[in-house]
C-alpha cells in the first residue's frame, strides 16, 4: 500500500518508516525552509528535532519538525516563510542587503521620524519569522492528566531507563517520558540491544508509567513538568526529576555552515542508515570516525574522511566545496555533502531552566560521549538520590570564526562581535540583544557557542555562564498550552437533559454547561418582553448563613445595609474586597430565626464561598456557612404574564400587595416548595423559584406545560445577555475589571459609606475625594448592527475607552452598549465614536427607565 503526501501541489510517495523529512528528501526536496531573517535556503541538518531547518506546516499546523514527524497519516505539507516559493524566494535578496540590517537594527533604525516604524513594522512582521498561526482552525480541546510520582525521568535512553528501573526497584513510583518511540533513533548495535533490554525490564515494573512521543517541554517550580503527549497534556508533579535527554551533535560555526548539504554526523547517519538515502555523489566527512561514518559509507557515494578544521563551506544554494585546514595545510575539496562529526553537546535545555530545583542530569546530558556503563551508573545514582549530577554544562566548543551561530534567529558570529563592541558583554546580555538562543531550539545548538564566544574574551566566570533556558524546549501546540484551562469537572444542572431535548445549544459558563439558546434568540427575547418565559438559573451560587452572629457578620461584610432588612425582604448586594474592588454581586435574604439566604453569580460562587469563609474566620464570628449551590435548583419565571402563570400552579397570594417587588416568600408551585425571590434582572416581572434540586424536573415541566397557551418559550443565556443589557445591569467579569470600584461602575448607591464598617469601606473612603478617571457608562448607537464588544471608543480624535457589552435592542430599535469611558482634561465626553459609528453617552437603564415593569 502506498501512501502519498501532498507537497506544494506535488504528490510524494511514502515508504515504511519514513518521516515527513525523509519522504521529501527522497523525492528530491533539498531546501526545507527559508531562514528567519535573511531568507537563506536551509536543508536538513540535525534530523533529531533540535535545529529549526525542517520546521514546516503539516496539515495546517505551523512549525512542525518534519524530521521527527512520522509521514504515516500526514496529508499536506508546505514550507514556510518564503515568497513565492522556498526554492525561489525573492526575499533571499535580504542576504545581499544585510549591511542594512545589522544586529539590533530595529532598536536603532526607524526611530526618527517616529512615524517611520509604524509604517515599516507590518512589513517586517510579514517578512520575518516562521510559519503562520492558522486563525481559521479551531484548536482541538486537550485535557490535562495529572501524575504525582516520586520520580520523573525525561528521556528513554540508557541513562533514563536505568534511572527509572533503579527507582522502581527501590519502591519509588516513576513517570518516564521520551519525545519519540524509545530506541527508534538508534541504529542496530550494542547500544540498541541494551536499551531494548532495559525498556523491557522497565515496562515489567508496575510502578513505572512510560510515555512515548511525549516531550517534556519544561521544568517549573514545584517541580512541575508538562509533557506534551499524543492524547493528553500530562502534568507531572514529581518529588524529583532526572534529566537524561542525551546530547546533540555539535553545531559548527564557519562561513557557509548553513548551506543545504552540510550535515551533522548523526543526521547524515540517520538518513543514510535508517532511511537508506544517498547524501550525495562526493561526501566529505570531517571529525571523529565512528558510527556515523560507517553508516554513511554503507550508503552509496564516494566518501572522503578528513581530519582537520572546516574553515569554510562554499556554494550558493547548496554546498559545492569545503575548505579544510589540517596539519597538511589548507585544502579546498569539491563535494556535494559535508558531514560534521565534531563531538557532542549536551541537550541541556531542561537542566538550564531548573536551577534550585531537585533536578539532576544523567548520561550524555552531563557527560557527552560517556560509555553505556557510565550512563547507566549515572542514571541509577540520580534515581537513588544523588542530586549532584552536574547542572552546568562543562566544556565549550572552539569560538566561532564566522557563519551562523544561531540558525533559528539568523545570528552570525560577526553579530555577536558587533554586540560585544556595543557593550553587551555577557552571555545573558548577548542573548537579549542578538536573540541568539531565543529561537525554537532554545539554544540546543547555539548556546555553547555563545558561551565560547564570551569565554574567549572575558574568561571563565559569571559573564560566560550558561544562560537560563525557557520553556518550551520543544514546539508546543496552543491547545496543549491551554490544556486543563477548562475545568476538568463538567457541572450540569438537574435540567441538563431537558435542555438538550428542547434543542438547546449548550455553552460553557465557568465549569457549568448552560443553554445558550433553544434555537431562536429573538423569540426567546420577545417571550420575556411580551408574554412569559422560564430560565434554568440553578447555577447561581446559593448559601445558607446561620448562627448567633449571622446578622452581625453579614452587616460587617456587605457594603449595603443588611441588619435592618425585615424578614421577607431582599436586597441587591455587591461583593467587595478590602481594596474596594468589586468581586461579584448577588442578593441577601433574611429567612428569619437567624438564618440568611445569600446568592452569588454562577461564575463567582466558588470565589464567593472562599470570601465568606475567610471573613467569617477573620472576624471570629460564630456563623455556619452551608453551600447549597448544588443542593438547590432555581428557575426564573419572568415576563408580564409571570404572575398569571404561577397563579395557575399555586394557591399562594401572589398579588403585588401580598408579594411586592424586592420581597421573598415561601410558596408552593404544583406541590414543589419554593423560596420565591421577586427580582428583575431581565427588567420584567420576575419570580426566581429556588427549590430542592430533586424537584427541578417536575417544576420545570409543570411551568412549561401550564405556560404553553400563554406563549411561554424558555430562554437561554444569549437572550438573557440582551435583556439585562437593555436594563444596564452589569455582568461581573465582563463589564468589570480588576480595579472596578462601585463608584466607577456608577453604583456608589450600593456601597453605603454611612455604615459603621464593611469590607472595603476604608479603601472607598480614601478613594472618594479622587475624581474618577474612568467610569462605566451606557452608550446608544443609531442604526442596525451593534459595534462589536471590545471596540475602542474615540472622542475628539483621542482614545476614550472601549465597549464591554453591546447588542442591538429589538425593543428600542437601536444599539445599546456598556463601556468604559475615560475623562479627558477632567471631563467625560458626551459623544463618542466606536469603529466610525457615532454614539451618545446616555443614562441607564435603556429600557423602562423608571422600572415600572418589574414592579408591576
Amino acid at each position: 500500500m502506498t501512501e502519498w503526501i501532498q507537497f506544494e501541489g506535488r504528490e510524494i510517495g511514502v515508504e515504511p518508516g519514513d518521516t515527513v523529512a525523509s519522504a521529501l528528501y527522497r523525492a528530491g526536496v533539498r531546501v526545507f525552509s527559508r531562514s528567519f531573517k535573511y531568507h537563506r535556503p536551509r536543508g536538513l541538518y540535525c534530523l533529531t528535532g533540535d535545529c529549526p531547518n525542517c520546521l514546516m506546516t503539516v496539515d495546517g499546523e505551523p512549525a512542525v519538525p518534519a524530521c521527527v514527524t512520522p509521514a504515516e497519516g500526514v496529508g499536506r505539507v508546505a514550507r514556510e516563510n518564503a515568497w513565492p516559493s522556498a526554492d525561489h524566494d525573492a526575499l533571499g535578496l535580504l542576504w545581499r542587503l544585510r549591511f542594512l540590517l545589522p544586529v539590533g537594527f530595529y532598536y536603532k533604525a526607524l526611530v526618527r521620524p517616529r512615524s517611520a516604524w509604524p509604517r515599516v513594522e507590518p512589513w517586517v512582521r510579514r517578512v520575518a519569522g516562521i510559519g503562520r498561526v492558522p486563525l481559521d482552525l479551531w484548536p482541538a480541546e486537550r485535557e490535562a492528566r495529572h501524575h504525582h510520582p516520586d520520580l520523573f525521568v525525561a528521556g528513554g535512553g540508557a541513562a533514563g531507563l536505568a534511572a527509572a528501573l533503579a527507582a522502581a526497584q527501590s519502591g519509588q513510583t516513576v513517570v518516564l517520558a521520551d519525545e519519540g518511540r524509545i530506541g527508534e533513533k538508534l541504529p542496530p548495535g550494542p547500544t540498541r540491544t541494551r536499551v531494548e533490554e532495559l525498556v523491557a525490564a522497565v515496562r515489567a515494573q508496575a510502578s513505572v508509567t512510560v510515555l512515548e512521543r511525549a516531550p517534556a517541554v519544561g521544568v517549573y517550580e514545584g517541580p512541575l513538568v508538562p509533557v506534551a503527549g499524543e492524547d493528553f497534556l500530562h502534568v507531572v508533579h514529581p518529588a524529583r526529576v532526572v534529566v537524561a535527554t542525551g546530547a546533540v551533535e555539535r553545531h559548527a560555526a564557519f562561513p557557509g555552515n548553513d548551506l543545504p548539504g552540510v550535515w551533522l554526523g548523526r543526521g547524515a547517519a540517520r538518513l543514510a542508515g535508517a532511511h537508506g538515502l544517498r547524501l550525495g555523489g562526493r561526501i566529505v566527512h570531517v571529525g571523529e570516525p565512528g558510527e556515523s561514518l560507517e553508516a554513511i559509507r554503507a550508503a552509496r557515494g564516494e566518501v572522503a574522511a578528513v581530519r582537520g578544521e572546516v574553515v569554510e563551506a562554499r556554494g550558493r544554494k547548496r554546498v559545492k566545496s569545503a575548505v579544510v585546514e589540517s596539519d597538511g595545510g589548507r585544502k579546498t575539496i569539491p563535494c556535494d555533502a559535508l558531514v560534521l562529526s565534531l563531538g557532542l553537546e549536551p541537550r541541556a535545555g531542561l537542566l538550564r531552566m531548573a536551577a534550585g530545583l531537585p533536578v539532576a542530569g544523567a548520561g550524555d546530558v552531563v557527560a557527552p560521549g560517556c560509555s553505556l556503563e557510565e550512563a547507566e551508573t549515572m542514571g541509577r545514582d540520580a534515581a537513588l538520590g544523588d542530586m549532584s549530577g552536574g547542572q552546568a554544562p562543562g566544556h565549550v566548543p572552539p569560538a566561532a570564526r564566522g557563519g551562523f551561530v544561531c540558525l533559528c534567529e539568523d545570528v552570525e558570529a560577526r553579530d555577536l562581535a558587533a554586540a560585544w563592541d556595543e557593550g553587551f558583554r555577557s552571555t545573558e546580555l548577548l542573548k537579549r540583544y542578538t536573540t541568539a538562543t531565543m529561537g525554537p531550539c532554545q539554544g540546543a545548538l547555539c548556546e555553547a557557542h555563545v558561551r565560547a564566544f564570551v569565554r574567549e574574551r572575558a574568561g571563565e566566570g559569571e559573564a560566560s555562564a550558561a544562560t537560563t533556558a525557557r520553556p518550551p524546549v520543544r514546539p508546543l501546540r496552543l491547545e496543549d498550552a491551554a490544556a486543563g484551562a477548562r475545568h476538568p469537572v463538567e457541572q450540569r444542572t438537574a435540567l441538563h437533559e431537558r435542555h438538550l431535548e428542547l434543542g438547546a445549544t449548550m455553552e460553557w459558563a465557568g465549569a457549568w454547561r448552560r443553554p445558550e439558546t433553544y434555537g431562536d434568540v429573538l423569540a426567546e427575547y420577545w417571550a420575556v418582553r411580551r408574554d412569559v418565559s422560564i430560565m434554568d438559573v440553578s447555577t447561581l451560587g446559593k448559601f445558607l448563613v446561620a448562627g448567633p452572629d449571622a446578622a452581625a457578620f453579614l452587616e460587617r461584610l456587605y457594603p449595603c445595609h443588611v441588619a435592618d432588612l425585615a424578614e421577607g425582604r431582599l436586597r441587591y448586594a455587591l461583593v467587595l474586597n478590602e481594596a474596594g474592588y468589586v468581586l461579584d454581586d448577588g442578593v441577601v435574604c433574611p429567612l428569619g430565626g437567624g438564618r440568611w439566604y445569600v446568592t452569588f453569580t454562577s461564575g463567582g460562587a466558588d470565589g464567593a464561598e472562599a470570601w465568606l469563609r475567610d471573613w467569617a474566620e477573620t472576624f471570629g464570628h460564630e456563623v455556619r456557612i452551608v453551600n447549597e449551590t448544588h443542593a438547590r435548583g432555581a428557575i426564573n419565571v419572568t415576563g408580564p404574564k409571570a404572575r398569571e402563570l404561577l397563579a395557575r400552579l399555586s394557591d399562594d397570594h401572589l398579588t403585588n400587595e401580598a408579594f411586592p417587588y424586592l420581597r421573598h416568600r415561601a410558596i408552593t408551585v404544583r406541590g414543589v416548595p419554593c423560596l420565591a425571590l421577586r427580582m428583575g434582572f431581565t427588567g420584567e416581572l420576575s419570580y426566581e423559584l429556588h427549590h430542592a434540586r430533586s424537584e427541578s424536573l417536575s417544576l420545570w415541566d409543570a411551568l412549561l406545560e401550564a405556560g404553553h397557551d400563554l406563549g411561554l418559550v424558555p430562554h437561554g443565556l444569549e437572550a438573557l445577555r440582551l435583556l439585562r443589557l437593555e436594563k444596564g445591569h452589569i455582568l461581573v467579569g465582563q463589564d468589570t475589571d480588576f480595579d472596578s470600584t462601585p463608584a466607577k461602575l456608577g453604583m456608589a448607591w450600593a456601597a453605603r459609606l454611612d455604615k459603621t464598617d464593611f469590607v472595603g469601606k476604608r479603601a472607598l473612603e480614601r478613594m472618594a475625594p479622587i475624581p474618577l478617571a474612568q467610569k462605566l457608562v451606557g452608550l446608544r448607537f443609531d442604526g442596525e448592527g451593534a459595534p462589536p464588544e471590545g471596540t475602542p471608543l474615540a472622542a475628539g480624535g483621542r482614545h476614550a475607552g472601549h465597549l464591554t457589552s453591546s447588542r442591538h435592542s429589538p425593543a428600542l430599535r437601536c444599539s445599546v452598549a456598556l463601556g468604559w469611558l475615560r475623562a479627558a482634561d477632567g471631563e467625560f465626553p458626551e459623544r463618542v465614536e466606536a469603529g466610525g459609528r457615532p454614539g451618545a453617552v446616555v443614562p441607564t437603564p435603556f429600557y423602562d427607565h423608571v422600572g415600572a415593569r418589574l414592579r408591576a
Binding site: 495529572h146 504525582h148 510520582p149 516520586d150 517550580e221 514545584g222 517541580p223 512541575l224 508533579h237 514529581p238 518529588a239 478590602e578 481594596a579 466558588d606 464561598e609 472562599a610 469563609r613 475567610d614 474566620e617 477573620t618 472576624f619 453551600n627 476604608r762 479603601a763 480614601r766
Partner: protein, 79 residues
C-alpha cells in the same frame, strides 16, 4: 509528588487542589488607624524564607487553612 499540603479535614493533598490566599495579614483590630489599615491591606512583606500563609482547599473540604512555608525551599512547617 511536588508540593503537598496536609489539610486538617482531608489529609495530604497536592497543592493543585488549593487556592493560594496570600500571606497571613496581621489581625484586624478594632479602631485601627488609616495608616495601620493601609499597611495591613496593601504592604505585603513578601519574605524569602518562612512565611505564614492562607490556603483554600477548593477541590476538597472548601475550608481555609493557615500554614507556614519556606518560600525558598517550599518546605512546609505546620503551625
Amino acid at each position: 509528588m511536588g508540593l503537598r499540603i496536609v489539610c486538617p479535614n482531608c489529609g495530604e493533598r497536592s497543592y493543585t487542589e488549593f487556592w493560594f490566599g496570600g500571606e497571613l495579614p496581621p489581625p484586624v483590630r478594632e479602631g485601627e488607624t488609616l495608616e495601620e489599615e493601609f499597611e495591613r491591606v496593601w504592604l505585603k512583606r513578601n519574605v524569602a524564607g518562612l512565611q505564614a500563609e492562607r490556603w483554600f482547599h477548593h477541590a476538597g473540604c472548601r475550608r481555609w487553612l493557615t500554614l507556614e512555608r519556606d518560600t525558598v525551599t517550599n518546605e512546609i512547617l505546620r503551625d
